[in-house]
Symmetry: C2
Subunit: 148 residues, 2 copies
DNA sequence: TATAAAAGATATGTACACATATTAAATTGT
DNA sequence: ACAATTTAATATGTGTACATATCTTTTATA
């Protein structure tokens, strides 16, 4: 049995390829966000005032990691954090004007590069692949949180 | 367009799930190897005397990362490194007796946990998924190295 | 209400992942 | 043979990813 044929290994390779395509295309378009930073910004734009734990839950991140990701988004001037008045443990995160503008500018590039990742698959194969991936994720995240 | 439906995001989530299943099952079986360490050990057992760059190429790792991975395998007593007499820049890596024994002991667990990762898919869906994943990888690694 | 339990965030430590730079050794070209 | 290039490995720095511990604040409970 070769490790290279195992689901775990194939998934690792796909993730590697996906990250490389993302980095290359974003750099080519003059943007400077990692996949994780983009996903976090997406969540924050979609739900202004969300707290860090909410961002983590929304995109299935680790709580301990999200702080650093949002740190970097803050350094770039894309988001701001304020202590919540409802719950002083929580930090409410909002996209700044610059962050919203950046998101709008970057989104088309991100959407466009997605088809690069699955290039080599026909339209119907792409749909199949996405459906199967979603199924794997749904099955394995039942015990964590409800999907939406 | 929600980031959560994009191929890149789904692939990241699958990789996350895959890594978690691997860690949990390995720990449950009393083993202590990461997915990357296992894949490296697999490559070294399959090709004794391979150099570090060879290991990296064989499993599509980053050259700069593989040194640290092999460091950790060496600390566990699973592999040994010797300067090649043919090319004194290169380090020939070999599995020790303990490393080979560990590999044989661990392999069944790793094989077994693979079906956990794709649980939720039927047999035929699993085969479909693996074929599509392989296609994505082959397409995106054409410019790097030949597959085998 | 005092205490316990839970939750949001941060800090620490380990392990990738990769870009870039550096060092040493081998290879190539003239 | 010698300089230029390439290659193997290491070093450095940034960015995840996650377990665990700690701190603060909130909530639940006796």
């Amino acid at each position: 049995m070769q490790a290279r044929k195992m689901p775990g290994h194939l998934i690792r390779r796909m993730n590697q390829i996906s990250s490389q395509v993302f980095a290359m295309r974003m750099q080519g378009a003059g943007h400077d966000l990692t996949p994780v930073q983009f996903a976090a910004l997406d969540a924050i734009v979609a739900e202004p005032g969300i707290d860090q734990a909410g961002v983590a839950a929304r995109i299935a991140y680790d709580r301990a990691t999200i702080g650093g990701v949002i740190d970097r988004l803050e350094q770039k001037g894309f988001v701001s954090r304020t202590v919540s008045r409802k719950d002083r443990r929580a930090r409410e995160v909002n996209a700044t004007a610059a962050g919203q503008a950046a998101f709008i500018a970057i989104l088309p590039t991100v959407i466009d590069l997605q088809s690069d990742i699955v290039r080599g698959l026909s339209e119907s194969e792409q749909a199949q692949f996405l459906a199967l991936a979603q199924k794997i994720i749904d099955q394995n995240s039942k015990e964590n949180e409800a999907a939406d």
